[in-house]
């Protein structure tokens, strides 16, 4: 940390490097969550009869975990292009609210860079960087580093899972399935910075479980996000000033 701060002053790209380095370092903690899902997707793509180039192309272009799983299942079940596209749209609508939240920290960013940042936005990099943006520790380069690493990892693990996924012991791959919930649970704890965010967290958790129990399986995240954030603002309004 100390050495980074002293060396970056010397570099001409001194304002870019610290963000890239911090972002790359923090992203290590997300890899445990992304690697098993990428491998699982590679395995599933093969089981559902996709060719290796098809599986890789899907990860390169679509780059959306849940949607890709749903997509290959729907394709295998003989769904039409339009049907798959509409489902994907609704499953991924949650990213709209995530990039909207990120955008308030990306003012003045060139359009080309924004287009790249938006393309590679995932639940994981959103979660990591929004937590750091809120505490002033992230910038656009931080987000770029996190995004590029997760993008590369997702594509590499898709291929690895396709080629050699079955070699993984079941116990390990089952336990690895806990990595993603662990990432979001930790981020949730860190996001609870005051009483109102705790209220938002408890309410949102209860609502999302209720939605799942009620077999509402589409648009849950965006529904919970809107309800939770609105509750937070209402409580804030009601509590003070």
């Amino acid at each position: 940390m100390e050495t980074q701060q002293t060396t970056t002053g010397v570099l001409s790209c001194g304002r870019i490097a610290p963000g890239l380095i911090r972002g790359a370092r923090d992203t290590g903690s997300l890899l445990l969550g992304v690697i098993p899902v990428g491998i699982a997707f590679g395995i599933a793509a093969r089981q559902y009869g996709l060719s290796a180039p098809e599986a890789c192309l899907m990860s390169l272009l679509v780059f959306a975990g849940a949607s890709q799983f749903i997509g290959i299942a729907m394709i295998a079940a003989g769904a039409g292009v339009l049907e798959v596209a509409i489902t994907t749209f609704f499953v991924n609508l949650r990213h709209a609210i995530m990039t909207a939240s990120l955008a308030i920290y990306l003012r003045g960013c060139p359009k080309g860079l924004l287009s790249l940042l938006a393309f590679q936005t995932t639940d994981e990099t959103f979660g990591l960087s929004i937590t750091r943006f809120a505490s002033g520790e992230a910038d656009r380069w931080y987000l770029l580093a996190a995004n590029v690493i997760i993008y590369a990892t997702w594509n590499a693990t898709t291929l690895a899972g396709y080629m050699a996924g079955e070699l993984l012991p079941e116990l390990v791959s089952n336990a690895m399935a806990f990595a993603l919930p662990a990432v979001f649970l930790s981020l949730l704890v860190m996001a609870c910075r005051d009483r109102i965010t705790v209220v938002v967290a408890i309410f949102s958790s209860a609502l999302s479980v209720a939605l799942y129990l009620g077999h509402v399986s589409m648009g849950n995240v965006i529904l919970v996000a809107i309800a939770g954030a609105t509750l937070g603002m209402v409580v804030e309004q009601w509590k003070g000033r």
């Binding site: 949607s67 909207a100 960013c109 639940d123 662990a182 981020l187 949730l188 479980v209 609105t230």
Partner: protein, 96 residues
Amino acid sequence: MMLATYPVRLAPMLAISARNLPEPVVRWLRYVPPAVFSALVFPGLLLRDGNPAVSPSNPFLWAGLATFVAAMATRNLSKSVCVGIVVALAGQRVLG
């Protein structure tokens, strides 16, 4: 599929980063993260195949508890995720 995923990510980012939002909207957006994290974590923890699995035989419940405690104590993402995975691994061994 890409035509369904990319515009959804791109449009809000371009639209919002280009202008100054009214203060209430910015405050609203700041409450989005805890809500989104809640929505992403709890179904995977408390449900198995859409059915509630709130019982001591669900290893992910114990792993979730350990992750929660570790995150509170360390406020460090990598440490708490590692603790969670280790407990999930041990839990699966013990609980089957």
